[in-house]
Symmetry: C2
Subunit: 366 residues, 2 copies
């Protein structure tokens, strides 16, 4: 039996611009091959930085393009952890970011997530109680792993809190453009007019992960530090792929491509929600995100994500257990489901397999 | 006056495969787009790893592909410095590697370079005197910055020394294939049968720097550590560019391309040697490398590379001063010239400009 994956956040093959991207590579090299194939500036291919700067209303000096946005997170984290900053993270939090912070020996402080994003009633006294520099790391829109989003009023409140306590916000936003339902909410970066908020995003979910093009909008006084980190790691990012991507966006292919991805994701989410409603026993709770890749399932009382996962392979379905997204305890009775990769038919079948596991475990626990 | 650059080791635009590479991108996506555009394995695109493994006669498990070989150097250095290893480097040594070692707080011990590579009469007692773990970092062929190469008898002796004193060798070989004169010398990695030597190389000089594809051949027991470093930095390297490069090598374009580059470099080196012989005053010494990108100029007594560089901008020529390649002192009266970028005509003109500066400085010093 082929396993159906709800585990890693990969896009399905039908969501990738396989036909168009090769043509763009050819055109980019014909137009600007001498630049695209040589060493380039540490912060990335200038025409793509300019496109990003214009789209986000910032000066081009504030735009850094990296080989995937995790690389930018790594650089920013190294800088801040080196300066003794306490890092407030969401609980649950994106596991790769957590891993980096842990390896750097960061002072990490988890703040629980409510249905509408980071719990500001917990964050406020935590910020107030900390005397040193603070960084709030958040994925406010279609969060990984929970699929939850911070409401607009709470975005304003978060910014006020950060300002009041001198904290910097690091907004990680790989999924924000993948909204397929509900009303848009402004980015924290926009609401703050670009002040006091660092912004991270990526073309992994809007174009393709295999191109590894991420970017960060940063304060100008951080750019020299970022440049040295680039020089110590990869000299310059991959000019060839950035020039190809620039050709893609210059042809006006970016927005239609995002539209196509949204439609593909909506079908998948709908299939997952319908199957969960059909399959899951009483006492199971899940959210219905308006975009992104993930949803979060709270299992019935006494059912362990880890125990489920131990049987998952044999049952032909995979996912990530909730506990992987917590620093110290939490999420034991939860799992993360990615609806981005499998087809609607596979989702239907996979949730069926998962449902049997959960029902059996719930019966034993009862 | 447009400045003529003998500074950074960039290939000239005519040495880049601008025409062919775009076609390869298109074909790679048509053939394997779903893999090339998605997240991939941390050690790189499997078909390219297989090609490298076969070419170098190692198992594919030992091949790691990174976004440029400096990234692999950074990971390897982090691992070894973390383990308290003393790193023996050549003096002069590639400046970016030195910078990384310095930032990591490595215990760096410089060993002078003779006309035929690292001075083994100095290395031997240094290795013997050190009790802890040792790593010898060397660019044995067409070294950066000096253009010098270690002779075959001395390669055997270096391997014997390393074995006798339990030292590991890190062979960095970006230029080895760019031989345009003289007889080939086997890689240390080959001579050692792949034991006790880690091998680093890159497609930057044999295909194009803008694709940022480097690779390392490593002991299998290091691969898990390397994978975690990849996961913390960029998840997977750029699959799209690796698939494109694989298409390029599969079409048999690699060897002819290297041949074309060799011919282009030979013309440039010959132009530089001829111009140096014509322009440089007595007391100037330079080498005539059989390959690679660089040559090293020892200036007449009393002439400082730094002082020359201060006038270079106005004179319309750039280069790197020798002192930049030393850990603590050395190279003050030397400069590195890259003949890889400028055309033969520009080289002729640029060495003319440089010659005037050196002659004036030598006259003042005399």
């Amino acid at each position: 039996m082929t396993s159906i994956s709800f585990a890693r956040g990969f896009p399905g093959p039908d969501l990738l611009p396989t036909d168009e991207f090769g043509e763009c590579a050819k055109a980019a090299l014909a137009r600007d091959g001498a630049t695209a194939l040589n060493y380039g500036p540490p912060l990335g291919y200038l025409p793509l930085r300019e496109w990003l700067a214009e789209r986000h209303g910032v000066s081009v000096e504030r735009v850094m393009i990296t080989n995937g946005s995790l690389q930018a997170f790594n650089f920013i984290a190294r800088h801040h952890v080196g300066a003794g900053t306490r890092v407030f993270v969401e609980a649950p939090c994106y596991d790769r970011s957590l891993l980096i912070l842990r390896r750097l020996g960061a002072d990490v402080s988890p703040i629980p997530l409510c249905d509408d994003g980071i719990d500001l009633d917990v964050l406020e006294p935590a910020l107030a109680a900390h005397a040193g520099p603070s960084l709030v790391y958040t994925i406010p829109t279609f969060q990984n792993p929970s699929g939850r989003s911070l409401s607009e009023p709470n975005r304003h409140r978060l910014l006020d809190l950060a300002r009041a306590h001198g904290a910097t916000i690091l907004e990680d936003d790989p999924y924000g453009l993948l909204r397929f339902a509900g009303d848009g909410v402004p980015r924290l970066f926009e609401l703050a007019g670009g002040d006091g908020v660092m912004f991270l995003s990526s073309f992994s979910k809007t174009v393709a992960p295999g191109i590894r093009v991420g970017f960060a909008l940063l304060p100008e006084d951080l750019m020299e530090t970022m440049q040295s980190l680039v020089f110590e790691n990869y000299v310059s990012p991959v000019m060839f792929v950035e020039a190809t991507l620039h050709e893609f966006v210059s042809r006006g292919r970016f927005d239609p491509n995002v539209e196509r991805i949204r439609a593909g994701l909506r079908i998948r989410r709908d299939a997952m929600i319908a199957a969960l409603a059909r399959e899951m026993p009483e006492g199971t709770r899940w959210n219905e995100p308006d975009g992104g890749y993930f949803l979060w399932v709270d299992l019935p009382a006494g059912v362990s994500g880890e125990a489920l996962l131990a049987q998952a392979d044999e049952a032909g379905v995979t996912f990530v257990k909730g506990a992987d997204f917590y620093v110290d305890g939490g999420g034991e009775s939860a799992i993360r489901l990615a609806f981005s990769y499998a087809t609607a038919e596979e989702i239907d079948e996979g949730v069926g397999r998962l449902g049997r596991l959960v029902r059996e475990a719930a019966a034993v626990a009862a």
